[in-house]
């Protein structure tokens, strides 16, 4: 059985200005985080039950809390998975979905089974791959997109910088520094 009361309670406690602005003692800030985390777990069960009921299919639903740091074990390892996008707004929205994935090519289908345009983009700074596709979600509703790896295909790794390019970019960057040092900023 899911339960949203613990999270409600945690959010109520966190109306304190110290929680909103992070200006409490460290151990209090840590306890605020603990209360939120403890409240979130039974909420995931509640959300899963609601999605099973509304979609008519009981799945092992997974919540990736670290998408903003491109971490999501399921999308980074599974050969195929579903993405349920829930829209809390009372109007239809289009949203670009970004998910960290393995070095493959993927096929994305919308709820009607039609293939939607998608891209796998390599993040320059971290070499992480991210799958992008645009999701259209109804007002106060959800859409289920299915993602599957195209067997035998791998995404083009970013061409390694040749030694020449490496030294060129080094020269460029050092040149920048020198030019800034020389030129009044």
């Amino acid at each position: 059985a899911g339960d949203s009361a613990p999270l409600n309670e945690a959010m109520a406690v966190l109306q304190h200005h110290d929680a909103v602005s992070g200006t409490s003692k460290q151990h209090v800030a840590d306890d605020y985080a603990r209360q939120l985390a403890a409240g979130w777990t039974p909420c995931e069960v509640l959300l899963s039950n609601a999605l099973a009921r509304l979609s008519g299919s009981k799945e092992m639903f997974t919540f990736c809390h670290n998408l903003n740091t491109s971490l999501c074990p399921l999308s980074q390892t599974a050969k195929s998975f579903q993405v349920i996008v829930y829209n809390p707004l009372a109007r239809k929205v289009n949203r670009m979905v970004r998910l960290p994935v393995s070095k493959h090519v993927f096929l994305v289908k919308d709820p009607s089974g039609a293939v939607v345009p998608s891209d796998v983009v390599t993040m320059p700074s971290s070499n992480v791959q991210e799958l992008l596709f645009s999701a259209s979600v109804p007002a106060l509703g959800f859409s289920i997109y299915s993602v599957s790896q195209v067997p035998g295909w791998r995404s083009r790794p970013r061409p390694p910088e040749s030694r020449f390019q490496k030294s060129l970019s080094w020269i460029k960057s050092s040149f920048h520094v020198r030019s800034l040092l020389v030129k009044p900023s």
């Binding site: 979609s55 299919s57 997974t62 999501c72 599974a78 195929s80 579903q82």
Partner: protein, 283 residues
């Protein structure tokens, strides 16, 4: 090409090829062009001075000088352009980077900033801001919201309800920003939407700044009894997003109000392993 520009149907953003910093924004739909320079700076946190022993701390923002210092005057850049996204990755320093993004159909520029762990090896507390400098003649005025609803007009070194004797030219002009801050010259408006509450201000005409992260070494003697200094001495890093909208002043509210709602009530993602779930019905 030497020219660094990202663009979609509505917006284009141009970067200085020498420094890698944002230098211009265009609203292609309304034919608006605004030189906008954006960079990260940091205020050196006060530890008290001859005027007052008040240090910068959890409850008090008090820089020890009016002028912030550059995190870096240039950024190493990488460009990613595909059919579904155009983005410029800017690396300012080991502890400050940003991705400037444009998706098709989007009427705002997305700046995903990543700041931290803020180095304090020099024994200076630091209060990091993202600052937008433009040529808009704003006459000392700027606007911040109150909980995403009411927009309040702010005037530098002024309070509407009492005769202000300004003793803190920076902190005394900082205001809470819950969802947006904007500046306008009456024709064009530059709005920045935030994904969390931040401190913000406009300390000179055409300029707008938001504080994104702080790391301090002194308690401010207001009751917390410890500095705003994350534990384990490693310091935290923070990632957030600023959405930048350039509009005609007359029509700007439609843009930022609808977009702010989409940010506040953004779609939530839930994943499930591929298909094959058990049919589920009430019975």
């Amino acid at each position: 090409s030497h020219d660094l520009t990202i663009q979609n149907e509505y917006i284009s953003a141009r970067f200085d090829p020498d420094t890698g910093l944002l230098m211009e924004m265009k609203n292609l739909e309304q034919d608006l062009l605004l030189p906008v320079r954006q960079a990260f700076y940091w205020y050196n946190a006060s530890t008290g001075n001859q005027l007052s022993s008040q240090a910068s701390g959890a409850y008090i923002f008090r820089p020890n000088q009016q002028k912030p210092l550059f995190v870096s005057q240039w950024a190493q850049t990488r460009v990613v352009k595909t059919a579904l996204v155009q983005e410029v990755h800017q690396n300012f320093s080991a502890w400050c980077s940003q991705v400037v993004r444009l998706y098709p159909g989007q009427r705002h520029l997305e700046l995903e900033w990543t700041v931290g762990p803020i180095p304090v090896g020099d024994n200076w507390g630091k209060e990091v801001i993202s600052r937008f400098d433009t040529s808009l003649e704003t006459k000392g005025l700027f606007f911040t919201d109150s909980n995403g609803r009411e927009i309040l007009e702010r005037r530098r070194d002024y309070r509407p309800t009492w005769q202000l004797n300004q003793t803190e030219p920076v902190a005394g002009n900082y205001y809470p920003v819950n969802s947006r801050i904007y500046i306008t010259d009456g024709n064009m408006q530059l709005t920045v939407l935030t994904d969390r509450s931040q401190g913000g201000s406009s300390l000179s005409d055409g300029s707008m700044e938001l504080m994104v992260h702080r790391r301090l070494l002194r308690d401010d003697n207001r009751g917390v009894g410890e500095p705003l200094l994350e534990s384990e001495n490693t310091g935290l890093w923070v990632r957030g997003r600023h959405l930048v909208l350039l509009d005609k002043a007359r029509t700007a509210a439609v843009g930022h109000r609808l977009q702010a709602e989409k940010e506040l009530l953004a779609p939530q993602l839930v994943l499930a392993s591929g298909g094959g779930g058990t049919p589920y019905h009430l019975a």
